[in-house]
């Protein structure tokens, strides 16, 4: 699905991301690492939002910086910068849906499936997205990703901004999604419990490098906890 060759990005001679070779296939893949490890930078590189010094990121064998096909099947939410602040959530959902040829009816149908996740505070709230709380903005962003029915989903620290119930709902939703059709779901998080629960593969980043590539097993949580122990 996603292939990375010799990806290098540095700011002021300080390496931000340095990945010689990485293959990402289907499944839920977790990305962990302390602040400044380069998780968000890596996501932005994948989405062609940052120019790499040396860059070769391939989605389905096509270079993301030279070809825009990836936009058809990739959905991402990194921060509020992905939302259009002066639209109502509904307007935003319809807009994103239309970009993927989904009719309003279609979008409404999907949104009704997310009613529990929204907890009554998103739809018909009579607010623009900019007036929603940060957590609710995150829900809008995640929902917009799901509407697209993508093959690749990239979520940056989705658990950090959600309340406990929503976190558990999100885990369930991701698992269902993954079971329904083969897709690559990339999730970064600081929450080791959640990450080991939901992910089949976990990448550990440190100073821009991927130092561990783990297949999740019963020992993974202890292994990660050992790494992060100060």
């Amino acid at each position: 699905m996603i292939t990375i060759n010799n990806l290098l990005k540095s700011y002021n001679h300080k390496v931000a991301v340095d990945i010689p070779q990485l293959e990402i296939g289907n499944g839920i893949i977790g990305l962990v690492g302390n602040n400044g490890a380069g998780k968000t930078t890596l996501f932005r590189l994948l989405l062609d939002l940052i120019k790499a010094d040396k860059d070769e990121v391939y989605f389905n064998d096509k270079d993301v910086s030279k070809n825009e096909d990836w936009k058809n099947y990739t959905a991402a939410y990194i921060d509020e910068g992905f939302l259009i602040p002066y639209l109502t959530p509904e307007e935003y959902f319809y807009f994103v849906g239309k970009l993927h040829n989904r009719s309003k009816v279609n979008v409404d149908e999907m949104l009704s499936g997310l009613a529990a996740f929204f907890d009554g505070s998103i739809l018909n709230s009579g607010k623009y997205i900019r007036d929603l709380s940060k957590g609710n903005q995150f829900k809008v962003g995640i929902a917009a990703c799901l509407i697209q029915e993508p093959d690749v989903i990239i979520l940056d620290e989705p658990f950090a901004n959600l309340d406990p119930s929503s976190q558990i709902r999100l885990i369930k939703m991701l698992e269902e999604l993954n079971a329904k059709k083969p897709m690559a779901i990339l999730v970064s998080s600081h929450d080791l419990n959640h990450i080991t629960e939901v992910c089949t593969r976990i990448l550990l980043m440190e100073k821009g490098r991927i130092i561990k590539d783990l297949k999740t097993s019963s020992d993974t949580l202890t292994e990660l906890e050992d790494y992060f122990r100060v």
């Binding site: 058809n72 992905f82 109502t88 307007e91 239309k98 009579g126 623009y128 007036d131 697209q148």
Partner: protein, 491 residues
């Protein structure tokens, strides 16, 4: 207490994150204000000679009195556009032991630190204390000074009141502009004469100096009204955004354009729902009237086509310039999202071009009304419109990819230089130079009408090449994209 709050404001100014830039802007504004004051004093002292030159065989005092109301009408509009609402982040103070009345008075006192308060005094005092005083004595001139000062205060608090009202309810804004338009039209078509009214009112004050008490009462009433309003809507200052239930809208007439239509409707909502673009567009409406400056009968009669052309390009391109100067930067807060969304870069750029053409065409249709001034203007307006939709729009696209400065949509527009860089200043220059390069050779070698024709034909040719141009802009955009993303994110 008010003093402490003023101190906090002072600190918030100096300790803000971009204090350096703020200071630089304040210095520039300071020079501007100084210039205004000097000009006002100079004008104030020369009223006597100017008026007696312009209106010989007339008593200058009634003539002068005739202009006062004009000034205050103009003052009202200027305040409305430029004056900032004094705001205080009230939240941290609400839970402290400070009376609400004190906070309201603070907002009122703070608002008085404004050039608009002092300018009229510099302008009117010299004439009143010299010419009027010489003829009618000190008491009369004192009464006039008090009257003028009261009017300043009245205007001041009235403008703040109306402005705050417009934040709550858009209709006040439309009503305000309609009222102004009606008054201007009535005066222009001589339904009633502002000048006569003004002269009559103020000559009456000269006759009966005690009438100044009426104006004092007006000023106090306006202050009181503002006070009551503020006390009732205290939370408005920082919670203005959450008033009223927001409705979803879709522009069904845009649906037929597919993704282009969707992108355009988002841009239209951007203008409708954000302070800065909205006020900028309202300003551009005023620029439509610039025609009365450019299209003077003497220019038309003398065949000064160059000036008429500059005027036409300006008027038919005004909306385009307003939007185009920040073409991509308008979306700086969510540029990441736009770039990661399922929108091909070419589609994105083409939607912007369509929008620019749409804006220019609206301005063009409105500007056709100048045909009533002179039919000669119509071919010039058509040529300018073609130039704008053909050449101007493409240049705007290229320049837009060179702008890396983001901006905050919620900040007001006048005196707001956030997101402005060399690119904006260069922008108008490039458009004018492009027009001159096309116009001048033909105008000088053949004749002026050939120059106008060249402008129109250049527009048509460029418009026919639009697809090719858009490809070029797309290539440029893809190269510049990372720099733009980086710059916009910093905001």
């Amino acid at each position: 207490m008010i003093y402490t709050l003023l101190q906090h404001q002072w600190k918030s100014f100096w300790r803000s994150r971009n204090a350096g830039r703020n200071v630089a802007i304040q210095i520039i504004i300071g020079f501007f204000v100084l210039y205004l004051i000097v000009a006002a004093i100079f004008l104030g002292f020369s009223f006597d000679s100017i008026l007696s030159d312009a209106f010989p065989h007339q008593d200058v005092i009634p003539v002068f009195m005739g202009f006062i109301l004009y000034y205050f009408a103009f003052d009202m509009i200027m305040r409305f556009i430029m004056q900032e609402l004094p705001t205080l982040a009230v939240q941290p103070y609400l839970t402290q032991n400070i009376k609400r009345n004190q906070l309201v008075s603070f907002l009122n006192v703070r608002s008085l630190f404004s050039i608009f308060i002092f300018l009229p005094l510099f302008l009117f005092l010299p004439f009143i204390t010299t010419t009027v005083s010489a003829k009618y004595g000190a008491l009369v001139s004192l009464s006039l000074v008090v009257t003028i000062f009261s009017l300043v205060i009245f205007n001041h608090f009235m403008a703040l009141f109306i402005k705050r009202k417009t934040i709550l309810n858009q209709w006040w804004l439309i009503g305000f502009f309609l009222l102004i338009l009606l008054v201007v039209a009535a005066d222009y078509f001589k339904i009633f004469s502002f000048r006569d009214i003004s002269a009559a009112v103020f000559m009456k004050v000269i006759k009966i100096p005690a009438l100044c008490l009426v104006f004092i009462a007006l000023a106090i009433a306006s202050w009181y009204n503002n006070n009551i309003f503020l006390r009732k809507n205290f939370y408005l200052e920082n919670l203005e955004k959450s008033t009223g239930k927001k409705k979803s809208t879709d522009f069904s007439w845009l649906q037929r354009f597919g993704t282009y239509g969707d992108l355009i409707s988002i841009d239209i909502k951007l203008i409708q729902r954000n302070k800065r673009p909205r006020s900028l567009f309202l300003l551009s409406v005023i620029f439509l009237f610039y025609g009365f400056i450019f299209f003077k009968p003497e220019n038309i009669k003398a065949g000064n086509l160059g000036i008429l052309l500059v005027g036409s390009i300006f008027i038919t391109g005004m909306f385009m310039v307003s939007f185009g100067q920040f073409l991509f930067a308008w979306q700086s807060s969510h540029f990441d999202g736009m770039m990661a969304a399922n929108i091909q870069v070419k589609t994105y750029i083409k939607s912007k071009m369509m929008l620019l053409i749409f804006f220019s065409s609206i301005a063009f249709l409105l500007s056709l009304l100048y045909g009533f001034v002179s039919v000669k203007l119509i071919p010039i307006l058509i040529a300018s419109w073609l130039f704008n939709i053909g050449v101007h729009s493409i240049l705007t696209g290229f320049i837009g990819t060179r702008n890396y400065k983001g901006l905050d949509l919620s900040k007001r527009s006048s005196f707001n230089y956030q997101g402005t860089g060399a690119a904006q200043w260069l922008y108008s220059l490039i458009i004018l130079v492009a027009g001159a390069i096309i116009y001048l050779p033909f105008a000088l070698l053949i004749n002026k009408w050939a120059g106008i024709a060249a402008i129109g034909i250049a527009g048509i040719i460029s418009l026919l090449m639009q697809d090719w141009w858009i490809d070029k802009i797309t290539v440029q955009f893809k190269k510049q994209k990372y720099k733009m993303l980086d710059g916009f994110r910093e905001n």
